[in-house]
Amino acid sequence: MVAKDPNVSIPDEWFRKKGDGHEQAEAVVRPSLSYWKDAWRRLRKNKLAMIGLVFLVILTFLAIFGPVFSPYEVTATDLRNQNMAPSATHWFGTDEMGRDVFTRTWYGARISLFVGVMAALIDFFIGIIYGGVSGYKGGRTDSIMMRIIEILYGLPHLLVVILLMVVMGPSLTTIIVALTITGWVGMARIVRGQVLQIKNYEFVTASKSFGAGTSRIIRKNLIPNTMGPIIVQMTLTVPSAIFAEAFLSFLGLGIQAPYASWGVMANDALPVILSGDWWRLFFPAFFISITMFAFNVLGDGMQDALDPKLRG
């Protein structure tokens, strides 16, 4: 650390008081990034999350354009070509009605993504209104609203969803309605927690003193500052909604034949799985799993990237 023989080699003129040299040494400050830029930088470093993101982009692309590449209609049956193994003409093979599994897989992707994203969006809107009001109003209102949430939280969600599906009859709309009726509770809890945490921050007090109304404070101040955990929750809602749709379809409560969803395809494949028609189960199962995987790792990555506790 110390120079070997400090007194010999040092020129005398170094022992003069520096003029105004105070600033220079402090110039080395790392550039400060905005919250979102910083989060994005962290997310990009997370390889797994990036793989998930890339996969989801590809999947979305294929869900939109995949059927275009295929000469077959999603519901078109071809009784001469039943249960064909994957080949040049039918890339993913055909099912027992001779329908093209490749085409049906991308239709399934459309349904899964649609259900997942819609459920997440609707949860988001209900949750943010309910949680925002509950957290911001506080006091008695909050107390009552939270009691309601606590009770709803105790309901076995999938049972309620099944009940609703039975009553409303299976359809895509029913699935989404059923999933969001039980799903918004988690989002509302998170929003409320976030709101409570930052409610007393100075900038809120400041805008209050300028006479800003409740809704304005929620919109302009609270929401932008609570987005991190909410986005993570949304990302994680998507796979659970996709799972729920597949689960219901598998039980025969989801999308009805001849339309395709991954759950329906997996369910249809069940009787033939033992006879060696592996492709019937493989493709829907593979894409459900990998889609859930992609959303899960992306959600995890976003959680790490957006968590202010980990920023440094």
Partner: protein, 371 residues
């Protein structure tokens, strides 16, 4: 230079300074006597830290938290390590205690000699035989230092039962004794309670009791009073004094609070940017601080009896320890900075038998700057 130091010394309230001490009228005399008896500190070195360098790997690179720290601790003394947050004082304490997680931490160089053994080289098992037995530690925040799910009694006796073969009943007797020592009434009842049933000050007393139950020779206290109310702080410091008197334990006190230092320290080491830049006994540091940083630190402490002179916080911030400066780390903030300060780290100057400082102003060629 000396003038500044002298002013401060006159102004400060040092426990054993010739200036009037601030003890309460009743107990003042008694405590003063105790002090005189106690402060026959032997010259026997119990702990010797040599050229210690510790760094941590982080996302942003490697932080050089300690960059060559050396000091000795004598038997029965209290050495205060002071400095701003992030200067490496807590890392020093954790290194001695063997609590640096490796990785991300890394002891790059140096040794910690205790009882003829280098603690940095010991394996985990050998280290555990010293932790809690010979060396104990007290943490900053009593609200988090106790396990919320275990009864106080269990937390007290588990260390004792781990290291010594004692029966449960015997351990419990010892625990009651320790609680009494730290001034907790109804100790038998209290053993069955959980941490949340105690106030902050009480919890810190319990933490101290836990640290002392195996009768260690060295106690490392990391900001032991920072998280407490001022009145509780005074009580805990008094407790420290009393315990040191009763047990003769050596204490390394990590703090940024010079008020605490003035009350119970014997010697003071001033740390800055991972280095000890000045070390000396309390009188030398308070009366005759040589490093501009030490002077600045003393200048930034409020004093009741110093009205004419305003407080001067030190301007600027400590350097980035991802890439510490080659020269004196304080140069950027130093009112006396010279060109040499930016380029080369100053050698250690021995001022008295105990007082040393790392500063270029000690160099004869720097005379012009001071005048």
């Amino acid at each position: 230079m000396d003038v500044i130091g002298q002013q401060m010394a006159n102004a400060s309230n040092l426990g054993d300074a010739p200036a009037k001490s601030e003890h309460r009228p009743g107990s003042g005399i008694a405590t003063e006597e105790k002090r005189k008896q106690k402060k026959t500190i032997s010259q026997e070195v119990m702990l010797s830290v040599r050229d210690l360098e510790v760094s941590f790997k982080t996302f942003g690179g490697e932080v050089q938290a300690i960059r060559g720290v050396s000091f000795d601790l004598y038997k029965g003394e209290t050495l205060a390590v002071v400095g701003e947050s992030g200067c490496g004082k807590s890392v020093t304490a954790n290194t001695i205690m063997g609590l640096i997680p490796q990785p991300p931490g890394r002891i790059r160089n140096g040794e910690v000699i205790f009882k003829n053994r280098d603690l940095t080289k010991l394996n985990k098992k050998a280290l555990r035989e010293i932790q809690g037995v010979d060396i104990s530690m007290i943490f900053q925040d009593p609200m988090t230092a106790l396990n919320p799910t275990l009864k106080i009694g269990e937390q007290l006796i588990e260390g004792l039962r781990t290291h010594h073969k004692v029966s449960r009943a015997e351990a419990k007797r010892k625990a009651v004794e320790m609680l009494t020592l730290v001034g907790i009434s109804n100790p038998e009842e209290r053993l069955k309670q959980y941490p949340h049933q105690f106030s902050g000050g009480m919890r810190q007393r319990i933490v101290i009791a836990i640290a002392l139950i195996c009768e260690p020779e060295l106690l490392i206290a990391d900001e032991p009073t920072t998280a407490l109310d001022v009145t509780i702080q005074a009580q805990i410091l008094e407790l420290f004094d009393e315990i040191q008197h009763k047990t003769g334990v050596g204490v390394i006190l990590i703090t940024h609070d010079l008020g605490v230092v003035a009350k119970i320290a014997d010697r003071i080491a001033v740390m800055y940017a991972g280095k000890i830049i000045e070390i000396g006994n309390k009188r030398e540091i308070f009366y005759n601080p040589q490093h501009p940083y030490t002077q600045g630190l003393l200048n930034s402490v409020p004093r009741l009896d110093l009205q004419e002179e305003e407080l001067k916080p030190i301007e600027g911030t400590p350097p980035d320890l991802f890439a510490p400066p080659e020269g004196c780390p304080f140069a950027a903030r130093c009112p006396y900075a010279m060109e040499v300060c930016d380029r080369i780290y100053p050698a250690t100057t021995q001022l008295t038998s105990q007082h040393t400082v790392d500063c270029w102003l000690q160099d004869p060629r720097a005379k012009a700057v001071l005048s």
